[in-house]
Symmetry: D4
Subunit: 243 residues, 8 copies
């Protein structure tokens, strides 16, 4: 990719964290809201310039994408998840498998964000869709598919009850993602968030409301446990998990 250079460019309005990938295995992500298209473009270009792996802009607008894709023609944008993937990892080895399980069709934009992020990070993604607990047999019928994955990301709005059920059925780590789907006493996802934090099946962890991106990043870290064991703490992760 010809935007990539060896001298990190200076970007107005930003201080690029060029070493983030070395420290954490993943380059800095760009949060779209509140930034102009030009800011998004310049910041993303600077991150790409010093990164070997996937680069993301979350909650992006079409205008932000258009500004970037002129400079990075391979960038992609998914309107439903509003996720720009500005550079995709060419994974040297598969990190593992994540099941993205969602409770309702209206939760799909958040589940998509998780799935697209995971795929761009070199993770095999399995989708299990529309298996909310009001029809409990639906998730039970998928139990073995979920158990077969290394990690489960479980996305649910409204009552947010699905992650507890999944964690009670399987031995996988469960990352719960509350969504803002609902009305009235859902309070924009607060109800689902509280449900998930209070789930009775130990082993569930929770991310912010609608944060499919963060859930996939957390899954990525879990999948690199094996990779990280083969090196000393002060070594860079980047060489191992990114192309």
């Amino acid at each position: 990719m010809d935007e990539r250079t060896h001298t990190p460019p200076e970007v107005p309005d930003a201080t690029i964290d060029h070493d983030r990938e070395l420290r954490t295995g993943q380059a800095e992500a760009v949060y779209g809201p509140g930034k102009t298209p030009a800011q998004v473009r310049d910041i993303a270009l600077a991150i790409i310039a010093s990164s070997g792996g996937a680069v993301f802009v979350t909650r992006a607008t079409p205008d932000q994408f258009h500004a970037l894709v002129e400079r990075v023609p391979t960038a992609t944008y998914a309107p439903r998840s509003r996720l720009i993937i500005a550079q995709r990892a060419e994974p040297p080895h598969a990190l593992g498998t994540v099941a993205v399980v969602s409770a309702g069709t209206s939760d799909l934009p958040v589940a998509d964000e998780a799935a697209e992020t995971g795929a761009a990070l070199g993770i095999e993604v399995i989708r299990v869709t529309d298996v909310g607990v009001a029809g409990i047999h639906r998730v039970m019928a998928q139990r073995d598919r979920i158990e077969g994955a290394d990690v489960a990301i479980v996305v649910a709005g409204m009552d947010g009850a699905l992650p507890t059920v999944v964690a009670g059925l399987t031995s996988t780590p469960v990352i719960a993602v509350p969504t803002s789907v609902g009305y009235g006493a859902s309070f924009d996802g607060l109800a689902a968030l509280l449900t998930m934090l209070n789930g009775c099946a130990p082993g569930v962890t929770v991310v912010n409301i609608d944060n499919g991106f963060g859930a996939a990043q957390a899954a990525f870290r879990m999948l690199t446990i094996a990779v990280r064991r083969t090196r000393s703490p002060s070594e860079s992760l980047a060489g191992d998990v990114a192309p």
Copy 2:
């Protein structure tokens, strides 16, 4: 019961709603907190005097019970549910069956309150205990028992997810009772309450946190639908459903 008189006594600090039973089928209940033992005793005696059915004091202290039992020796007190039953209906006919389903052992005081209230109102009560959604097969194994009841009262703290699952498995009306069991982000039952209000299985209704008594009263009303059909709206209910 010799406390019963035909001239309603005047009670200091209270205005007894002597016609409540005629209008609604159930005598006024006494809310214990904030009342002295003497107030509880006098109010309960006045209600008993004009009531033909069950009389309850909720969230009562042992002292309140002792003040009352001196005058009403048949009164009973259950320490776990803190419920005084000062007069029990001798039901002329069984109203129906209610399944009291609870998610965890710590929810039992609230489930007890519902079950004891229901029984005193002439309802057959089935108990289904400790079937939280973290082990989903437990409630599924009880599905036919719950479906066989006329109404299900489902009691749960923490994530409060059980009522949605029960409503998705059965065709019974489901009365959800959130409990204050939990810690941290359960916010004294708020999390369970919100979960239940946002449940995705239509047909669930909700009562206040820890309100097992109100759930049983609501079930009682549902079970009297058939009874009420046999009379005109301006007739008293009391003659039909209470001894």
Copy 3:
């Protein structure tokens, strides 16, 4: 209806709960927000294909309705309640009567949703409109009409005080529906919701803010108590209550 088939179709982005009606007496409902018109259409068609009873899309947009009505010409849409009824039960027998009582004219969209849902489920619906507690004689004048119904659905915003009053006047089960009508400290219906949960007349149960649909579904379950008594728990409900 020719959309109905015996082999449930696969629907992208959805896992239809084809057995919901068998288990619970009512087919799965479709929650409109967050779904494209095509998703709504495909999911509704799949549900219709395996359902014998009423099929609903709640909080639907006109676009969602237009996508569906091309395939299901008998579908109806009520703009005020935003409810699509995609298939109406032809009730073999009347289930009973529900009074839909509303406090103010601004609460009518929610009351409509309850009334239209109930009617489509084979329930006779009585409307009692604009009887808020600031003019208490209005609801007292309607007391006998409400008492004559099997169930009362009471819809109120702002102070949400009406359900307690109705429950104190009648012996019917009362399903309280808080609405988001109000401003300032109504906090989008939170005030009315809390009022209803704290009502002093036992026997009131509550559904989510603005959830007229769920209230009618709950009433439907209450009215099937008698129907369900005539069969064993493992039998399907659908044969009894739906055409």
Copy 4:
């Protein structure tokens, strides 16, 4: 009263607002919590020294009262309302009548605080007790007594619905006092507070949770409207309304 002097004493830890009574018609009140008995005693003595009217300590402990009564033998203490009245107005003329209306027996401590404060300020107080909206006929039976008063103070916990009903039945100013009576979703009086703020009958005003004292003070101000009309704005109120 021999504690009264003409040179206001200095009080450690306090800056007595000696002119409050001149400006507002009522001497400064002492808020008991967080003060030592000695502080309460010294502050109350200083206020008495420069005041001609009633002096109050609210939410006082028995210890605070004992410290004060040694110096002011005529002081009184009501354990239920925790109100010390350290000096009572000898009203030169009756200001008017206030109806203190309470919803339940558990609300009586707050209603007492209002009634005792009012009486000490030279107001005739009528009590209407235990007339909550679950038995709506109780308050309707008292309608003429309430309408006959100049102001109604309406005290209610739990659902807090009573003030709206009273305001809809009468033409009196209604001062609503939410109480912390309740449990679960009453959130220590928040539910009743919100109900009262959202009441649909115009003319209701609201004070803090459990603030019977403030309600009576507000009623006092309303009753002095006529008195104040007879003097110029810069004159002292004290000469007119206090002995």
Copy 5:
């Protein structure tokens, strides 16, 4: 006014409280939001038909006004306060004076609503504008004007501190109106509301956020104390205070 008839018309979607004026001295008000222009028109016409006094539509849209003014040419609409006054009292005698005191220029729409309502009810209104506590001398300079009024309505957003200061300076009843003016931690007026409920100067009462209309109605009730004293409780108020 020729819309006035002696047989109250039936209005679809509404149950007019034709006796409200007899009971409370003021006709029912119409809450604009959530109603169609036709509903507003029909309800207002029905109220006018049976009312002798002022008739209001609050939070009205221009469209609602246009629908009504075609039938009631004397109706007026103030865009800043969004208040329709559909019939104005021709006050037989002045009820008294209310000072409408506002903290900032941005609070004026709410202050206007209070002032316009009061004027239509036959109250003399004094305006005191932009005297927030950050420049405390501004309100002190107006102290005598406020003290000269019978009632003070004090309108403030942001910190909501003004009513406490006014109540500490004067002997008038103070009706505090929090406004939603502010940002961030004002939480749409919650901060000002809480401030006012916790004010340290006894005698302040509070209405809902932005509820200038309710404040004026409460002031109206306070001003009728003297009027009401001259009649028995069961008499109508309307003959005395409305034309």
Copy 6:
């Protein structure tokens, strides 16, 4: 351990989830609050009887421990964390290493709960204590120790900022545990919880306030990713990870 039997005993008040360990790799845990010592003892014994691994009672009282240790002499109790470990795994192989990082000395009870749970599950635990962000060099000095672990559990109250910093310094999965340490606007841990959910370093997941136990269980699941890969989804986990 001689309490272990092959026929699961029936326990009053409980429905033991005997298969939990087979499905999820970990036996059901007992939540102490709201249970009598006898209930805790009986439930724990029943779980032990069918479990091959560690058995926990969380938030236990000394009385609950004393009831249990009479029957299970090897049980241990840590007063600071209130954790009973009723049976300890004899780990056939080390699962991996978890760094338990805590922000302040007052957070230690929660950190202890995580560390003790982890150790009992066969995890090597590293402690990093009192490294809050107010002295940022403290956590930076420990960076390599944390990076050397497979998973980091980061425990913090008050501002809850530590997990974001740790996640930005390392590539380990970070499980954030908010604690209720703090006062005022910490709102019993809500502030720390919100901080952690909003952390800007992707890869952080969060558990309930004070839930050190759940954090360790989540870490356990992450560490079994490698183990689970060697078997088919329908096999039991228990044989692999527990003795």
Copy 7:
């Protein structure tokens, strides 16, 4: 500037606090929302007429600016911060240096408001941008620049953790500004606000969400400590710190 006159003009809808600058060293600011362009113009002109220093309109719209700039051609408007500076101080002496430190690029509008306000008040402003705690070395690399300033204004949304870290690294007073940047559980800046109030590094003070203007005003006051020492308390500040 020719708008400046010696007789303060009367402004409709406003009570200009002409002495504010004498008392506090800074003229009254105009809060834009809820005011018409004409109101903003007239109020600003009146303040300018009696002020010798900077005059600000915060959260202004372009229309408000256009109305003002016609009369005050030197006025400036920054769209990103929405700040009108209607008159700029010509500082007789530099007051000192403030470092405006921001966590993310999306926080820049708030940081700009602080920086522009400070500059207009005669403060030298240093910008430190995009140094959020997820890449902790970024702020550490700027430690000496921040320490070299007299005051640090630290602007952060989402987790709001940056002020604590800065206060732990430096000896400057730290004014923390939470921003509404974020989504889900950021609750429009509440999460950042709570974090900052609970920060563990003493010496941090906090202003309202998004209140960059207030932060700069607070810094201005801190920088005038030295100036104020040279005069008596009753002297005007204005002569010293404004031109």
Copy 8:
């Protein structure tokens, strides 16, 4: 003091931030709650050993003090503020003057904490007590004393209105401290906190509820602005401001 050594001791359960004083001018403080007396003693001793200035334990219990004073006989404890001062600065030069202004007598424990902390840091403290806004002339009478100070710390509970008034009267930096004094809708200080954050007088900054200690630390930083100007950023502050 013989506890002081040159080799910082290791302390179990703590990681002493020995350089905090060098970086920030003030040694680490010890937060008492949740720590055993032995932990408090050991941590305080370790901090004393490497510090040249004041050392504090906040919210300490008498037991914690007794453990410490055995080893540090000069330590002092103030029961009202619960503050241990384990080592007092012998200030080489007076830093300046802080006015600690409190609204009510019940706010004194928090005001004391601020005053005692300030005095121990070498600040001259002026106390202005019981000048709440309900008697506005009280604070105006003290205006010149407050203006004469370099910084004002303003402590208030209930409505929290005092800081805005002080900031509008003076040119000093105002540090607002909300207290938990109040009841009902004060929500343990939340009302006062929100009031202070929304204050209309620019220049007010806020600390956590009841955080008098933090307010004094912030004032200390403001007073060192002049001191810090005389050295380069990388120099230690400690040599200048501590003995």
